[in-house]
């Protein structure tokens, strides 16, 4: 079944509401008028009853002369029946009265031969137990006609007002929902090339402002990811361009004329270096791609971080001694994580620290434990990093030192990005701070996740 549009739904709902309300009001009104008529009839009949009781005060039996005409003649639509206490009919003021009438005292309404009557039963002498009964019949057909007319009017009103609100509601809903159409138009125009379209949040009604805000935020996030992705592809191409052009040039130059065997060997060695660099780059990018797809699944083995750091410090010890940098570790904490991945992450940080620590500098690793998790600081002395660049450190291919940009034998600038991916895969966060001659990488890891 085709689903109704929001406008039609709203219009139908409006119409239904109006119909229910007007129907209710109509029924209330018609009920009130009917009650009012009954009250009027009762007052009239009771007034007549008093007059009739006076006029008929000497009636004792069916043989008595009955002359209530004076009272009745003033009211053409009123009829009277007098019956004995045994129910026998003594007198009828009109010929076409119904044969059987209710005997219980009080007011009732009957229909006889197309005519509606209000009927009042009362004893002629209220103080006597075997008093003859007076039955007053008031023709109320014109009341009923009025009520029927009114009911028709009510139905007509209900119908017309429902129709009118349906139409007005449709119009109101359409104009009320215009911001949604605007939203849909913006959404229609969004593609990879135009992720910069935004909804005007301030001109949106309050109910939609939140949605518009989220919608814009979503576009923003998509835009950001897409920019990164495009930048990443562009960076890959750029990174590969230098070694590729080296390979091409070197190989072609080598082949242009015959050379001694040593030259060929040299050319192949040089090519090998470029190729190894490219292979490493591709492997690192595959690792990052895996992380991006949530495929880095760290093992959960119990580890002592202090021990892991010591192993790494031992690994880097020859480099540190060469660079005359002292390395130390303080603190320890247990963690569940992947030994190989964490070693890789920390080794990138230590390698990085060693590269930027000047001679006679210092690298300190500090591990501290707190309730929620643990913190590992790797800090090194040195010039520090421009605070504006701290955020970008973990970007792929980002190098703090632009002079290294084109030297292909250097690091590709993926190490910190890989470290970040590993830390995130462990449910942690990494950031970099730099002040007062220290550069500090702070890793925060949950104990269990």
């Amino acid at each position: 079944m085709r689903r109704l549009s929001l406008s039609s739904r709203l219009a139908l709902l409006f119409a239904a509401c109006t119909a229910v309300v007007s129907l209710f009001a109509g029924l209330l009104f018609s009920g009130a008028s009917e009650a009012h008529f009954i009250e009027l009839d009762q007052q009239l009949l009771e007034g007549k009853l008093i007059g009739l009781r006076q006029a008929l005060h000497d009636v004792r039996s069916s043989d008595s002369e009955i002359r209530p005409d004076e009272e009745l003649s003033r009211q053409a639509d009123l009829s009277l029946r007098i019956s004995g206490s045994d129910g026998k009919r003594w007198y009828d003021s009109a010929a076409d009265l119904p044969d059987k009438l209710a005997q219980q005292p009080g007011l009732s309404t009957i229909t006889h031969a197309g005519t509606d009557y209000r009927v009042l039963n009362a004893p002629l002498f209220p103080e006597k137990p075997d008093s003859p009964q007076l039955t007053l019949l008031l023709d109320i057909t014109h009341h009923q006609h009025f009520l029927q007319r009114m009911q028709r009017l009510i139905w007509l009103t209900v119908g017309l007002s429902a129709l009118a609100t349906a139409l007005l509601g449709a119009w109101a809903a359409r104009s009320g929902l215009r911001p949604l159409r605007r939203m849909s138009n913006v959404a229609k125009g969004v593609s990879a090339q135009s992720l910069n379209a935004r909804l005007p949040e301030e001109s949106m009604p309050p109910e939609l402002a939140q949605l518009a805000h989220q919608f814009n935020a979503m576009l923003g996030r998509l835009d950001d990811s897409f920019q990164r992705l495009s930048a990443f592809s562009a960076d890959i191409a750029h990174e590969l361009r230098t070694p590729l052009s080296n390979l091409l040039t070197h190989t072609q130059v080598t082949l242009t004329r015959p050379r001694p065997i040593e030259d060929y060997r040299e050319a192949l060695h040089s090519n090998l270096e470029e190729l190894q660099w490219m292979a490493q780059l591709v492997n690192d990018m595959l690792y990052l791609a895996k992380a991006d797809h949530g495929l880095l699944m760290p093992k959960r083995e119990p580890l002592q971080l202090g021990h892991e750091v010591d192993v790494l410090l031992e690994f880097f010890a020859p480099l540190a001694e060469d660079a005359r940098v002292t390395m130390s570790r303080e603190g320890d904490a247990g963690i569940e994580g992947d030994r190989g991945m964490l070693r890789r992450a920390l080794s990138n940080l230590l390698d990085n620290a060693l590269r930027f620590t000047p001679a006679d500098g210092e690298i300190r690793v500090r591990i501290s434990e707190h309730t929620a998790g643990l913190r590992l600081n790797i800090e090194n002395t040195g010039d520090g990093i421009d605070p504006a660049l701290l955020q970008r450190l973990f970007d792929r291919f980002y190098r703090a030192d632009p002079a290294r940009q084109e030297s292909s034998s250097e690091h590709a600038g993926l190490g910190l990005a890989i470290t970040q991916s590993i830390v995130r895969a462990h449910g942690g966060q990494i950031r970099c701070e730099s002040n007062r001659g220290w550069t500090r990488f702070v890793i925060e890891l949950p104990k269990k996740n």
Binding site: Q276, V282, R343
Partner: protein, 226 residues
């Protein structure tokens, strides 16, 4: 030593065969999985090198068939797919090791030799020797030309590895993995520095050098004519 390579990329297969043959192995190379499986099931080979993606039977099916037939021939997987589950699956099915493309040939060679050595029970050595270099495994002492050399624990482990695999070119990644238990590719030059320091102690004072750098490939310990 007869090796079987099942690899459907002609260029890769060709160079693998050439490289391994020149390293002294008797190598057979087939490109399709069905033939590969028939040959593997003959039991004539000391090692199988299987590409995972093959036409006919893939590498995993072959290793299952081989293990199903009760053969314990070591299997080295080559794969371009680097998903963790792939590795787990390959090893669970009975593969002994895997290499993810792109890999260095020196790495492959070192792994092949490791796998081939694994089965053979080498006699329990008490010392290792090359020329006038002697490493006493029990007393943890190193001498060269009767002269005592003091090494740190890691330097000792590094020299032991070089001596045990003398004549083999050992890639840096393998050294990092075996000596320091760093099982990842790192572009750090720690290994270069460590080798340089070892050379300083082992080679520098002696006319004939034993530790050699094979450019772009790794390091080898061997006696070379002056």
């Amino acid at each position: 030593m007869k090796l079987l390579i099942v690899e459907d990329q002609p260029k890769t297969g060709h160079y693998l065969r050439q490289g391994l043959a020149e390293a002294g192995f008797n190598v057979e190379w087939v490109a399709d999985g069905t033939t590969g499986q028939q040959l593997a099931l003959s039991g004539d080979y000391a090692l199988l090198i299987l590409d995972v993606m093959l036409s006919g039977r893939d590498g995993w099916q072959i290793v299952q068939a081989v293990r199903g037939a009760g053969l314990d021939t070591p299997v080295l997987f080559l794969t371009a797919r680097d998903a963790v589950e792939d590795r787990v699956q390959g090893l669970e099915l009975g593969g002994d090791d895997y290499l993810v493309k792109p890999f260095a040939f020196s790495e492959l060679l070192a792994r092949v030799r490791s796998l081939l050595r694994r089965g053979s029970t080498a006699p329990q050595e008490t010392s290792l020797q090359l020329a006038d270099l002697r490493l006493d495994l029990i007393r943890r002492r190193v001498e060269r030309g009767g002269q005592r050399i003091d090494l740190t624990a890691k330097e000792f482990a590094l020299l032991e590895m070089l001596l045990r695999r003398q004549g083999e070119v050992l890639p840096k990644s393998l050294i990092a993995s075996q000596v320091w238990d760093m099982n990842f590719d790192s572009d750090t030059n720690v290994i270069e520095v460590a080798i340089r320091r070892l050379r300083l102690k082992v080679d520098d004072d002696f006319p004939s050098k034993l530790i050699h750098t094979v450019r772009g490939m790794g390091y080898v310990l061997e006696e070379r004519g002056a």
